[in-house]
């Protein structure tokens, strides 16, 4: 066993507060951020996942169960539903964090930043690299390692956001509307393949650092929430609250909102709009970095392709909540995460992405501005 691994395992065992046996990786969590349906081959502990996600749908099992003992129907219903709610909340807060980057950029420059999902992917790699470097230097305080990783990842990812805006989008500020979109798609390819070229195409991972689990209920009917899941929910809600404060209460936030409302007028009033646009890219990238660190800690494995699907889903969340609206992005993320988890837990895992995109199409047809978006007034 390599020294780093034994160290990590030692730390993990010491840190453990709940049941040691159920590591975060063994849970039948539906929080998968890998690319397509074919990439689940290395997902560990298939037996346990199959039990919850497999072919037997919830309704099938409820029916079978109620046939034997109708009295237990509600209890059975309750714990699976609650488990999916927990999973959905986790997934949703991640979507919300990434959606912030899309929605702020769209609000301020009116473009879909296709490279944002790949910025998130870069942050997942950075997390693993940071953790590995820290542990190889013999740092054995887990909270310190996590905080240092979070800070470093946010810093470097934010630098990525700034650079991408500077290199690929700023020269196109006055170009036709489609030009930045193509440039963004190009940037996304550059990031994906740059990472693939330098880090290799194989799936990478981090060891399970925090295997602690909280468990409610007894016997076979229980709801469990891992410490990492709890951390995801707490950290994302905190950072969303902090960001809302930043946008609503600070001078920088006022400048951002002014630039979003009318860029030319804001410039006339002395706001350096280029700097504000850069700031928005930096904030979005930093939020994606938080999501990247949390997902990497929770799921444990990633590859250079994860940015695409997660990015599209997060964008879906942003549109769902009303693009350009910050609370909308968070709400959209939570709704998408919850409905996706409930759908895959109760109906079918294979079609959960189809469900997510159908939800998007339906929302746009019946409420084109999203849930919290302001209706666009067309002026002649």
């Amino acid at each position: 066993m390599p020294p780093l691994l034994s160290l990590l395992v030692g730390r993990a065992v010491k840190f453990c507060v709940g049941r040691v046996g159920a590591s975060a990786r063994n849970l039948p969590i539906l929080l998968d951020f890998s690319g397509g349906g074919l990439r689940y081959a290395n997902s560990p502990c298939p037996s346990e996942s199959a039990e919850l996600n497999g072919s037997t749908s919830l309704w099938g099992r409820v029916a079978a169960f109620s046939y034997h003992s109708p009295g237990n129907l509600i209890r059975m219903d309750w714990h699976i539903l609650a488990q999916q709610l927990v999973n959905g909340l986790t997934l949703g807060s991640i979507y919300g964090l990434i959606a912030i980057g899309y929605t702020m950029v769209y609000g301020i420059v009116g473009m879909i930043n296709f490279a944002h999902g790949d910025v998130y992917m870069v942050s997942a790699y950075l997390t693993a690299i940071c953790l590995a470097v820290l542990f190889s230097f013999g740092i054995d305080s887990l909270p310190f390692a996590l905080l240092a990783t979070l800070a470093t990842t946010m810093l470097i990812t934010a630098a990525y956001g700034w650079t991408i805006e500077r290199v690929a989008y700023r020269p196109l500020r006055s170009a036709p509307r489609l030009a930045p979109l193509i440039s963004a798609i190009g940037m996304s390819l550059v990031l994906q393949n740059g990472v693939q070229l330098s880090q290799g195409a194989k799936t990478q991972g981090v060891p399970s650092l925090i295997p602690a689990t909280l468990r409610f209920g007894e016997g076979n009917d229980f709801v469990q929430i891992t410490l990492v899941q709890l951390m995801i929910i707490v950290v994302s809600l905190t950072s969303m609250a902090a960001l809302t404060w930043l946008i609503q209460r600070t001078s920088l936030g006022r400048q951002c909102r002014a630039t979003q409302q009318d860029r030319r007028m804001a410039a006339i009033l002395g706001i350096n709009t280029d700097r504000i646009i850069s700031t928005v890219f930096v904030i979005g990238a930093a939020m994606a970095a938080i999501a990247g660190v949390l997902v990497t800690l929770n799921y444990g494995s990633f590859d250079f392709y994860i940015g695409f699907v997660t990015g599209i889903k997060a964008f879906t969340a942003a549109v769902l909540g009303g693009i350009g609206s910050l609370p909308g992005a968070m709400l959209g993320g939570l709704i998408l995460g919850l409905s996706e988890a409930l759908f895959s837990g109760m109906v079918n895992t294979d079609y959960k992405d189809v469900f997510a995109f159908s939800l998007l199409v339906l929302v746009l047809i019946f409420r084109p501005t999203g849930l919290l978006g302001k209706p666009e007034v067309e002026k002649v």
Partner: protein
């Protein structure tokens, strides 16, 4: 230039300042490149540990810094300044180029030459280049189809590959379940794709531009995921095989398979597997020529003019009584039909298809073809499609860096020419006797 008129001392002071600025900018670029590339390129994950390869980011950062230094210096020389001005002026060129009737008459000879070249090329090419040519033609067709939607009607469709997939699967599944041949599947698959376009487009086209982009993107993914997951019907990731085309019942196989007569036996020539590809290429080439004619004519017809008018100002068009949903829908379904036809050719040329061929990258590639070629410019789209399919083949030596270079090229192209390679041309109409 003020510097040329200044005294030598002032010029020296100025150059010292420029030099200092260049050094500072190079240092900043070096630091930033090191921060960005240091961990990702320099520390390679190996299990739960990292391998130290820090010489790579150092080298790249040094190259970037030197490049930045030279560029900053160059932009301060008179020649560099002039180049920068030319560059910026070109970026601000207006959108449409008006071509006089005399000039468009001269272009006919070029057109004839290109058609003859296109028809003779497959007989000269090797099998490898023949497949590349077929691919290029498929992308030309896709580019032309999407050009109607994005370039002419101004509807950003990021899920165009869905219609391509519908066409391809229409041929493959039609052959499997309904026993359709290539020629009967061709119109049916095109109509099926148009139907899909209509069903998607009708509710969606009321929306504002960017929402359309994202809904079509979602739709493209839905089609791919359904094809991938519906194992019983589509074969899922394993794919399905597609039938080869026939020429009036003559098959392009060594021995007759579907009860027909092999092509080479009928014409008393020796069997050559290339015949099939040459045939596919020729049919495809004719369809592309037909498409070019159709698109050119459509642009001069009321519906084509309505497309372009809607692209420019939707509110004005609605005020003038144009039914915007129906006009947009016609463009959308037209594009879908062409996508479906391209899909049929893709399936028959590959002989086997699976959902992997219809991912978002394909959609992005087709949008890139249309935008790089110049929105609305038929010539530009054809050139971009041919270049973007042949360029990767020429870059095979750097196979690993191909997609990377492709992405970087997309960014650079957009910075260099945000309106694409060619500006759309509009013919000028001259009425004899009115113009002096």
């Amino acid at each position: 230039m003020p510097s040329t008129a200044a005294s030598p001392a002032a010029s020296e002071v100025r150059w010292n300042l420029v030099f200092r600025q260049a050094v500072l900018e190079a240092a900043a670029a070096f630091a930033l490149a090191l921060l960005l590339l240091g961990p990702i390129v320099g520390l390679v994950l190996d299990g739960y540990q990292v391998k130290n390869e820090l010489q790579r980011p150092l080298l790249i950062a040094a190259i970037i810094a030197v490049g930045r230094f030279l560029v900053t210096l160059a932009t301060h020389t008179p020649a560099g300044q002039a180049a920068l001005d030319r560059f910026n002026a070109r970026r601000r060129q207006p959108g449409v180029l008006v071509v006089s009737a005399a000039e468009s008459g001269r272009q006919r000879w070029w057109l004839l030459a290109i058609i003859i070249l296109g028809l003779t090329l497959p007989f000269l090419a090797s099998k490898y280049w023949l497949t590349v040519l077929i691919q290029a033609m498929i992308y030309v067709l896709l580019g032309l189809g999407l050009n109607i939607v994005v370039g002419l009607a101004g509807l950003l469709d990021l899920g165009y590959v869905a219609f391509y997939a519908v066409g391809a699967y229409g041929l493959a599944l039609g052959a499997q379940y309904l026993d359709l041949g290539f020629w009967s599947a061709l119109p049916l698959a095109a109509m099926l794709a148009a139907l899909f376009g209509g069903v998607l487009g009708f509710p969606v086209l009321r929306m504002h531009g960017d929402y359309l982009a994202i809904v079509t993107l979602g739709f493209g993914e839905i089609i791919r995921l359904v094809l991938n997951n519906w194992l019983e019907f589509t074969g899922g990731p394993n794919g399905v095989s597609a039938p080869a085309p026939q020429l009036f019942g003559l098959e392009f196989t060594r021995t007759a398979r579907d009860g027909g007569v092999p092509f080479h036996e009928y014409f008393q020539i020796s069997y050559d597997p290339l015949h099939r590809f040459v045939f596919i290429y020729l049919v495809l080439f004719l369809i592309v020529c037909l498409m070019v004619v159709v698109v050119t004519r459509l642009r001069d017809m009321p519906v084509g003019r309505a497309w372009e008018a809607l692209r420019e100002d939707e509110i004005a068009c609605r005020a003038l009584g144009i039914n915007h949903v129906l006009v947009k829908l016609s463009a959308f379904m037209m594009g879908a039909t062409v996508g479906g036809i391209a899909g049929v050719f893709f399936a028959t040329y590959q002989g086997f298809i699976n959902p992997m061929s219809f991912n978002f990258f394909e959609s992005a590639l087709i949008v890139a073809i249309v935008v790089l070629g110049g929105l609305g410019s038929t010539t530009g789209v054809i050139v971009a499609a041919v270049v973007l399919t042949i360029l990767p083949e020429l870059l095979r030596a750097f196979a690993d860096y191909r997609v990377f270079a492709f992405g970087a090229l997309m960014v650079l192209m957009m910075i260099w020419r945000p309106r694409g390679l060619m500006r759309p041309r509009r013919r000028a109409f001259e009425v004899k006797g009115l113009c002096p």
